[in-house]
């Protein structure tokens, strides 16, 4: 019986570790965007590399958790929900990596006066991601707290949308080439997408939480 408890604790630790990686990914992204806007490309590329490694590690850890949950038939009632949550939060991590990779490949030119607005979008998106991770942690330990975190995620997603809208309006009101405008809109959209994905995870989480109430 103690073996069962020990194995469960190991899986518990792995889930926590995976969520730590998602948080770490968000923080790296936030800092990397700042480096990019400041023109510190070397540091930006270093962060991109770190984020790619984090994502790979996250993928590996998620697969290990999934295998353990299935092989040991742990939490049979909630297994589907937990695996769904882990997979969709992994998608959020993938989205941050992919967006940062696009910066590295496409090198968008963001007008300097729009930098604060772009940083706002990035910060709100990462705050939504952090809120999502807190909500998932609460799902495992403290169901009553899930709702509070989910509400925060919704708030940050809305703020990210507002900032993105402002950014796009500002871009399209300027005398820039149309291709440039489209390019900038594309980047704002992709950063915004991180918050959208986090919100999708929370929608899923809300249903899973209701199912877990005894």
């Amino acid at each position: 019986m103690s073996l069962l408890f020990k194995k469960n604790k190991q899986t518990e630790a792995q889930i926590d570790e995976f969520l730590d990686l998602v948080i770490k990914g968000g923080l790296i992204f936030k800092q990397a965007v700042r480096y990019y806007l400041q023109g510190r490309i070397e540091e930006f590329e270093g962060h991109l590399k770190e984020l790619s490694d984090t994502e790979e590690k996250g993928d590996e850890l998620r697969r290990q958790i999934e295998t353990k949950l299935y092989l040991r038939t742990l939490i049979p009632e909630s297994r589907g929900d937990v695996l769904g949550l882990l997979e969709s939060s992994d998608k959020v991590l993938n989205q941050t990596t992919e967006t940062l990779m696009q910066f590295s490949v496409e090198c968008p030119v963001i007008p300097e006066d729009l930098h604060p607005l772009f940083i706002d979008i990035s910060d709100y998106a990462v705050s939504a991601e952090e809120g999502m991770v807190k909500a998932i942690r609460a799902y495992f330990r403290d169901l009553a707290a899930v709702r509070d975190h989910v509400n925060k995620v919704l708030f940050y997603r809305k703020e990210a949308n507002k900032s993105a809208e402002k950014f796009k309006r500002a871009v399209f009101s300027r005398d820039l080439r149309h291709s440039h405008k489209i390019h900038l809109r594309y980047f704002a959209y992709h950063v915004e997408l991180i918050a959208e994905e986090a919100e999708d995870v929370c929608d899923r989480l809300s249903i899973a939480t209701i199912k877990r109430y005894i």
Binding site: M1, L4, F5, N8, K9, T11, E12, I15, T73, L74, I75, P76, E77, S78, V82, Y139, F140, R141, D142, L143, A144, R212, I214
Partner: protein, 399 residues
């Protein structure tokens, strides 16, 4: 011949094992929280322990209701109860072994002209109403307690999963123990007055009474029922009939176990007597009734939206029909066993005693009215586990 007669009891035991083990471990196995082999092994072991150690209390109550004192009578009563259960299960009506056997005993009383102790009968019927009600109350209280505690404890889902698995096995073991203690009377109770077993001294340490050997045999039949046929029932209970989460399943089985324990623990009864408190009657109650009561309680406390009242009505109808049908079937079967197969379905100890005391019966002198010993005394010998039913007047056969 006696072994042939015991087969109906063994059949009843097999059906009880197949049917009622699912009440205890059904959700745990159906939801894949506990493996079937683990569940079956734990359930079998504890059913046997419960039956052998503490099966006497409820058997005594059945003995008060009617001491079926001839082996062919016991065979017929058990067979009629078994057929009733099989028929009602086939008709998809929920059925309780306790009710079938009580109906059968009353049928035997009616056929043989033995008086039915209405006080005992009303006590038994009252517990049929009381046990689901009590199970519902316990389930509600346990649900509220668990909800409060789990909300505060903030246990990680995976750790809670491990605790729940452990809890389901422990409570399943307790449930199986109380099932054996409480329900062995249904399986072997009617054979006690006609038991063929004698006391055995084991390793000079303890004595295995004749009744305990009979109960062991019945419990083994229950164990066979668990291993051979309860898998299907467990899967069905776990997935179709009531969809409970593992924690709710734990609460339901715990409530069921408490109820069965209250109605079968001789230890608890002794403790209550020692404290000068009113005792709880030791009556074989239905495991299924207790489970249904507990689930109903959970449904009510969760807002009653999910409670299927139509199904509950069907279950209640089954509870009323079972003893009536079993009683009628026993009555008819006894007629055939006695008059077609020419078997003795009721034993006359007074007549036997008379023949020993007065080998040459005098003409025009009726046999003594008061028996030297009650049917239970006569057959059970020195078996200390059996409560003597000396107040029962001599049964009169109907020819």
């Amino acid at each position: 011949m006696i072994w042939f007669f015991l087969t109906s009891g063994l059949f009843l035991g097999w059906s009880l094992g197949a049917k009622d083990a699912a009440n205890v471990f059904g959700t745990a196995v159906g939801s894949r929280m506990v493996r079937f082999k683990t569940a079956a092994a734990v359930a079998s072991l504890f059913v046997i322990l419960g039956a052998v150690v503490e099966g006497a209390g409820t058997t005594a109550t059945l003995g008060h209701l009617g001491a079926v004192n001839a082996i062919a009578g016991s065979f017929t009563v058990a067979l009629a109860a078994g057929v009733t259960i099989a028929w009602m299960t086939r008709a998809r009506l929920p059925v309780a072994t306790s009710q079938a056997i009580v109906g059968g005993i009353v049928g035997w009383n009616l056929f043989t002209g033995s008086p039915t102790d209405l006080e005992v009968l009303s006590r038994i019927v009252a517990t049929w109403l009381l046990s689901p009600l009590l199970a519902a109350i316990f389930a509600i209280l346990l649900y509220l307690l668990f909800k409060r505690c789990l909300g505060r404890a903030r246990i990680h889902m995976l750790r809670l999963d491990a605790y729940t698995r452990t809890g389901l096995i422990i409570v399943g073991a307790l449930g199986s123990y109380t099932l054996g203690a409480n329900n062995i009377a249904n399986v072997m109770g009617v054979f006690v007055p006609a038991s063929p077993f004698r006391d055995i001294q084991l390793f000079g340490i303890f004595t295995l009474h004749g009744t305990q050997q009979l109960f062991l045999l019945g419990a083994l039949a229950i164990a066979v029922g668990i291993f051979t046929y309860s898998r299907r029932m467990m899967d069905s209970v776990g997935n179709d009939i009531f969809k409970l989460t593992p924690i709710l399943a734990f609460i339901v089985v715990l409530a069921h176990t408490i109820v069965l324990f209250l109605f079968s623990s001789t230890g608890l009864q002794s403790a209550l007597v020692a404290l000068g408190l009113p005792t709880i009657p030791l009556v074989p109650v239905s495991s299924s009734q207790a489970i249904v009561g507990a689930i109903f309680g959970i449904g009510i406390v969760k807002g009653a939206q999910g409670v299927n009242f139509k199904l509950l009505g069907k279950i209640a109808a089954g509870w009323v029909m079972t003893p009536i049908f079993a009683g009628l079937l026993t009555f008819v079967s006894l007629f055939f066993v006695q008059n077609v197969f020419e078997q003795e379905v009721v034993h006359h100890p007074a007549a036997a005693a008379t023949s020993i005391i007065a080998p040459e019966p005098r003409p025009n002198v009726t046999a003594p009215v008061t028996p030297l010993a009650s049917p239970m005394q006569t057959r059970a010998g020195n078996d200390s586990l059996i409560t003597i039913n000396s107040s029962n007047p001599l049964p009169q056969p109907i020819n």
